[in-house]
Amino acid sequence: MDGERLRNRPCGGRYGDLVQAIGNTPLVELKRLSPKPGVRIWAKLESRNPTGSVKDRVARSLIEDAEARGAIKPGQTILEPTSGNTGISLAMICKRKGYPLKVVMPDNVTQERTQLLHMYGAEIVYSDGSKGSNGAVELALEMAAADSSYYMPYQYGNVANPLAHYNGTALEILEELDEISAFVAGLGTGGTLMGNARRFKEELGDGVKIVAAEPMQGEPVQGLRSLDDGFIPPIIDLSLLDRKIFVTNHDAIVWTRRLLDEEGIFAGVSSGAIASIAVRIADEMDEGNVVFIVCDDGWKYLSSGIYTRPVDEVEALDTTVWW
């Protein structure tokens, strides 16, 4: 198996179909972002997955887990709340495997997400954007409760989500690095952080600091009636996190541009936010490796103007669900 992997590396591998080609993404050092010589910053380019995001790993894991348990068969409709990337990944995989897909998505995401979902043949049900992703989760749960013919993988509560990283992303990083001082990823469903954290702590001990970068959503998408309407994804175990730091939309976009300008990495907004925290953590260290996740590429954000306008002139900065 190892020999096979090594032979595959120069061209990224040979696979029987696109779904099998998910993963095995490059790990790239970002020397210009490193604040000091002894600290090396590495970006895991999950943007190099077939639909351009880390969610390809999760979507494959969710579907293959359901297939293995006999919970779905071709022709059955899959229903899932998402604000974009998971839906796009599921759409590609479901189309290839013969499952109709219905996604529930806030109505204030970038237009490219809608276009990509339609391209892959998914049906979209829009939720109230003022409730952010909470609104999509709430509506999808209602729909699933009302119609038992749907199969909802429910990435927020399905262990197949973190297992995609425990058995995939983390092992790939460990193949390349013997030492990891800090791992930084975005906090959404918690899958990337939980799966990688468990593997790294098991293999390298508690010396690996697990750091969550989380979005500080703009006030217009904090549309809760009360704090009791809040939501914590069931797969999140806070005890695995050493730090949890929020990043504003403004700073996330500033750093998304820095990734492009200084390192040539064309990434989405969450990756900019995560990079900002990776550099901050690197600045607190004297030596070691800091690994962070580049979650998706920048194509889905072009219409928003984040790459072409000054950040203060980006429209709908606080009314958009960026990540």
Binding site: K55, T189, G230, R243, C295, W323
Partner: protein
């Protein structure tokens, strides 16, 4: 005095203010001072046992106090506490 930033969902309980000042040398003391000055926030911020309510995230400057020292986390005079509701992640 520390500055406490209030999310939209709690503003009606503090007279519409976006931020208020409150005394205290720990997160728990600052939030208790806030609750004493604005009693309507008490049941929203704290459980009956005096713990932070499950869906309330409190950040010291920008770090979640739950992964620091919780309500015992030390607070300085010029620090900012940010209260945010727990929300589902976005595109992730």
């Amino acid at each position: 005095m520390a500055t406490v930033k209030i999310p939209p969902v709690l503003r009606a309980s503090v007279g519409g203010e976006k931020e208020v000042s409150a005394d205290g040398s720990s997160v728990g003391e600052v939030l208790n001072a806030l609750a004493a000055a604005h009693p309507q926030t008490q049941s929203q911020l704290f459980s009956a046992e005096g713990e932070l309510n499950r869906y309330v995230n409190v950040y010291l400057n920008d770090e979640d106090v739950r992964v620091l020292d919780g309500l015992q986390t030390a607070v300085g005079e010029s620090d900012t506490l940010v209260i945010l509701p727990a929300m589902a992640g976005g595109s992730r």
